[in-house]
Amino acid sequence: MGGILVYALHDGEGNFNKNSLGALSAASGLAGELGSEAAAVVVGDVSDEQAQALGNYGVAKVYRAKDVPEGLAQPIVDVMAKVIQDDGFSYALFGGGLLGFEIGAGLTARLDAGVTMEVTSVKVADGKLIAERPILQDSQIADVGYVGEPGIIIGRLNAFDIEEKGGTAEVVDVDVDLSEWSTKAEMIQRGEQRGADVDIEAADILVGGGRGLGSAEGFEACEQLADAFDNGAVAATRAVVDAGWYPYAAQIGQTGKTVAPKLYLAVGVSGAIQHKVGMQNSETIIAINKDPNAPIFEFSDLGVVGDLNKIMPKLTEALKARKG
């Protein structure tokens, strides 16, 4: 009773996702409080060594479904549903990302189970888990409890810290018959990198550009502004990356990178949660946005309400003049 099953996402070659390792670490701590155990589920090409190494994050057991492809949710729903039912887990936990949302949602339907998403923290009360979930643009935090079992908890990006605890996990291979509909989605290509391979992680100053720039050309102004700083680079939101205005390698957020530069200067970025999670730990945040109610102003140190087309060029000029 009380066991927690965690899905560990990997890149196809057994290199596990940081958010999954965080979820494993959190699960092992919570299972300790509940007096139960945490275990992991992995699918696809994961070697014995790679699976055993997950023990370092506190899980005793790793269920491995070798024949199930990594990267699509529904086959993994089949695997997790079977493991949960066969071995009686009380909770399923996912680190931030996208696939975990889809798998967790599928499990909700399959097991008639409660689900909470965007969870930033999990606590124990009366021998049960309570998920803390920020709502209404993070203005309040709801404590969510579960009726019946299992309870499904989908973490927000970077919600759970990685803790290395030492240890090796036992690896159990599982055979799962996939549902008919789970075989009707076929991965043709996974993890394609679109656009140039820009490096934003080494920059001290990031100019984050969003849809407010209006077009791909708007990013030229961002690049000039970034150049006017020492060690500046340009980052982007998913909206503009999906639109093809800027390379994926520069994307910040839930399905992009997490950064913490000295300064994040957001221009024409609304500040959606999925973007915020990738940049909220920046040392300082400045936002230029024409909408005084834009969510980004809620977590900016300096908010400038105005038209970026007017402000950005002048700011670039002023910084360049100072630099000489």
Binding site: F101, G114, Q140, G145, V147, A185, G191, Q193, R194, K314
Partner: protein
Amino acid sequence: MKICVLVKDVPDAAVQKRIDPSTMWLDRSGESTLNPFDTHAVEAAVRFKEGDDLEVDEVVAVTMGPEGAQRALQKAVALGADRSVHLCDDALAGSDVCATGKALAKVLEAESPDLVLLGQQSDDGECYTIGAVVAEHLKMPSLTQVVGIEVEGDKLKCERQAEYGYDTVALTMPAVISVGDAINEPRYPSLKAIMGAKKKPVDTKASSDVGLDASEVGEAGSKTTVTALNEPPAKEAGEIIEDEDTAETVDKIVTWLDERKLI
């Protein structure tokens, strides 16, 4: 073939959203509108109908919600849906994701669509899971956050961004797809379409009409309970500059940066 589009009526962006402390549910008394993310799903469906890649006979907008949720359906029809279905029943109030997915799946089952489209997220619930819940109930393949769909025979080649970059996935229809807002630029409905939509009948159904037991939905069918609402840790409010004179604004920004040794 038939495309069903799931839509939701959400509080208007200008409304200050709040939780009713007596029920722990979102207060839906203010102005409301069609979830902006759903307009992309309606647009995608209507483009399929207008184009030659799929033989679409009908685009049906489907929602679940209180009476006012008709507004979302009317807007979806104004944007090009042919008709609409409204699951409306007091028993549904307070449904969580689990119960909502179950209820929507029942309505869809009755329509037996070849394709179900929905938006990437709701503006109020801020979750992006309903598509995957519904798909599992309907026993259909699904993908969320899709920003490009190409028809290849009975398959839909979809692309979307996941953790490691862009994935391309082929789904065999019938399928459930949630579309990202980059998939298209939704049209503005004409005045004629808006007026016309108000006259089109809405097929209103109660839970029992789609074979739902009251115990499966609403609070009774929900598997989560909100036990408390807390304030997030207080954060120091940032400084705000309104740009009136841009030269002055820029001076202020430069000074601010200078004080923090960022330049």
